[in-house]
Amino acid sequence: MISRAARSEHVSGWLFVAPAALLIGIFGILPIGWAALLSFQNNDLLTTPTWVGTQNYHTLVNDPVFRQSVNHTIVYTLLFVPLSVGGSLGLAMLLNARIRFSWFYRTAVFIPVATSTVATGLIFNWLLEPTYGVANYLLGKVHLGPYGFFQNPDQALYSIVAMTVWGWLGFDVIVYLAALQGVPESLVEAARLDGAGRWATFRHVVFPLVSPATLFLIVWSTINALQVFDEIYVTTRGGPLHATTVMVYYLYSQAFEFFHAGYAAAIAEVLFAITLVFSLLQLWLGNRRVHYGS
């Protein structure tokens, strides 16, 4: 038996979480269940869906474009995460130093994050235009190129990586700056007195102390990278020749260009599984390596 006081506490507790639980339920849990059901259907969003069992999954296994999309997603993620997290730690260290106009540099680094993806995409489309773009013009001055960038199937995915790292670096820098401010000056000083050089101080004092931020950024960036979509939608639209077709883009085109909603849901389920595995792996590794202080 629960006492009356405990019960009322119980009720008020539920009331407090109700709004959040309701929203997450409607926009999170419910669609997950619905998508799982959908993945076993032949559904064109128009006519009555039919039950097809695991057929969508069988088709997926033999779909060359789907396989490409998985490869592209993984290559993208393996490049994007280290470049953006590593790059931002370096930048944050520089910006954390006492230099003139540091407020200006910090703002400059963060502006791309606050810029709309559509605007970013349009700008990059022109910058990286092979014939008339500024990028090839400048590279030509130092006798490089010309490159096809978004129009060359061998370069398009890397161009997307470069554009998105530029776009998201600022966010990671802000997180790292906050973490770096939390590193006690006394510890750094103590290390120095003990004869540690710059690199040793960073390696043995600063880096372990910001490791919670590193874990967060790696997990967060990975989930984001696995679901990359907008930047591709506004630039290459999966092309040329599927070179930038990642999983979410392929899902989108199956669902909303060809109206194979069931098939698209099956892609979503596979993506969900991949994301889950990546995240669990990172958290497991993280728990062994991350220093959360005393």
Partner: protein, 420 residues
């Protein structure tokens, strides 16, 4: 990277925007029309609704812009899925078969026989495009076709005579080469090479000129990998990868700006682009040909969606009025779009229209060269994508015409056989 969630949210927003026109209050029936017109055409749309509302006190038409018409089908279908959708929507002709499967789309078969519609006055390509399996699923909204639009000044500078109606592929290719100047970053021609329908339909015209076809007569097997198809793809290959006389547009529409700034000498394009070329003295000619000078016509349609008999009737009244010869000519005169009815060319105001838009009369005459239509089948999108990838590969020098088209045909056959 903000995930697909954003799209879903946008779709919801679009859907909720559509429920503005509810049922009758004080005896007035509200009708909502979705369109993707911008600028001049957008204003013409608003003014048409205002003229209609002024003369029809029992009906109130509201026009709403749904954004880029390329993505209208998914928006409308999402809205239908959400249960609140417009009474009328502007949709591309290539979607007719998809729309026909929706139980919400109103079958107009009996309505087009009403007096005053005069169905046979619409161009054949338009009538063909809206008929699916014995049903009429829309009213003609727009018709256009591809012709050769060229920059006169660049021809004069290169000392080449202007294109004639008898130009062959060889004439065209030779001229494009002469009009290309790599150092000045000037190209003879431009081609949209993103593998989309934009890539495919220009190829369709070449395929038909060479005597080929997209599918067989009962739409069960691909035929675009015939010798005619290979010939068409080879022309593209030679011009793009040997002559380098083609600017490859990656689907962002840069070609229009570049033509307007004198960097591109010739385009295969339609009347909708003419207003983007204010800085160029351009000429219009029928497409260069091989065995004939066929072009491709892209008729679009107004589709009616059932929101109850009262609203459907009101929406039909509006469409009938809007597509009448008088209103259609007002529209053409305001926007430069081609006449959707043959009888418009006999109305007294027609000469003023032709005078206002130089070159437009070539497009009107060119409508007679639009002999074939793309197949009206539900999985046309898949067939088109397979073709688009093949043509794109050829243009980018990543594949050979025969091999790429064969592979695409194999995919298309599979799609046609399984519906997947």
């Amino acid at each position: 990277m903000r995930r697909l969630f954003l799209i879903a949210a946008t779709a919801l927003l679009v859907a909720s925007a559509g429920c503005g026109g509810s049922s009758s209050s004080n005896g007035v029936v509200n009708v909502t029309v979705w369109h993707g017109y911008e600028d001049i055409e957008g204003k013409a749309m608003t003014s048409a609704a205002a003229r209609f509302n002024a003369t029809h006190p029992k009906i109130h038409v509201t026009v709403q812009n749904y954004g880029n018409a390329d993505y209208a089908l998914q928006k409308v279908l999402t809205a239908i899925r959400g249960g609140s959708y417009p009474d009328i929507a502007y949709l591309y002709g290539s979607w007719a078969a998809n729309i026909a499967r929706s139980p919400t789309a109103v079958d107009l078969t009996s309505r087009i026989k009403e007096p005053g519609v005069n169905w046979n006055d619409f161009w054949p390509a338009e009538r063909q495009a809206v008929q699916v399996g014995g049903k009429v699923i829309g009213m003609p909204a727009l018709v256009d076709n591809l012709a050769l639009v060229y920059n006169k000044k660049l021809f004069d500078q290169a000392g080449i005579p202007y294109p004639t109606a008898n130009w062959t592929w060889d004439d065209f290719r030779a001229a494009a080469q002469k009009l290309t100047d790599t150092s000045a970053k000037q190209f003879g021609w431009a081609y949209v090479a993103d593998g989309s329908e934009d890539t495919v339909w220009r190829f369709d015209a070449l395929l038909w000129q060479a005597g080929g076809d997209i599918l067989n007569s009962d739409n069960t097997k691909a035929e675009f990998n015939s010798p005619a198809g290979v010939q068409a793809a080879t022309l593209l290959q030679q011009m793009a990868t040997v002559d380098h006389s083609v600017y490859l547009d990656n689907g962002n529409g840069n070609y229009a700006n570049l033509f307007n700034s004198g960097k591109i000498a010739m385009l295969f394009t339609g009347p909708w682009d003419l207003s983007s070329f204010p800085d160029v003295d351009y000429g219009v000619q029928v497409l260069p040909g091989l065995t004939n000078h066929q072009t491709i016509s892209g008729p679009d349609q107004w589709v009616l969606f059932n929101n109850g008999s009262q609203r459907t009737q009101a929406a039909w009244t509006f469409l009938k009025w809007f597509t009448s010869p008088q209103q259609a000519l007002i529209w053409s005169t305001q926007t430069g779009d081609l006449p959707i009815r043959a009888s418009e060319t006999r109305l007294p105001g027609y000469q003023a229209y032709v005078k206002k838009y130089p070159g437009v009369s070539v497009f009107v005459q060119n409508e007679a060269n639009a002999l074939k239509a793309r197949p009206v089948i539900a999985n046309y999108n898949e067939v088109s994508q397979a073709m688009g990838q093949a043509i794109e590969a050829v243009l980018l020098g990543k594949g050979q015409p025969q091999q790429e088209l064969d592979q695409a045909a194999q995919q298309a056959d599979q799609t046609l056989a399984t519906g997947q």
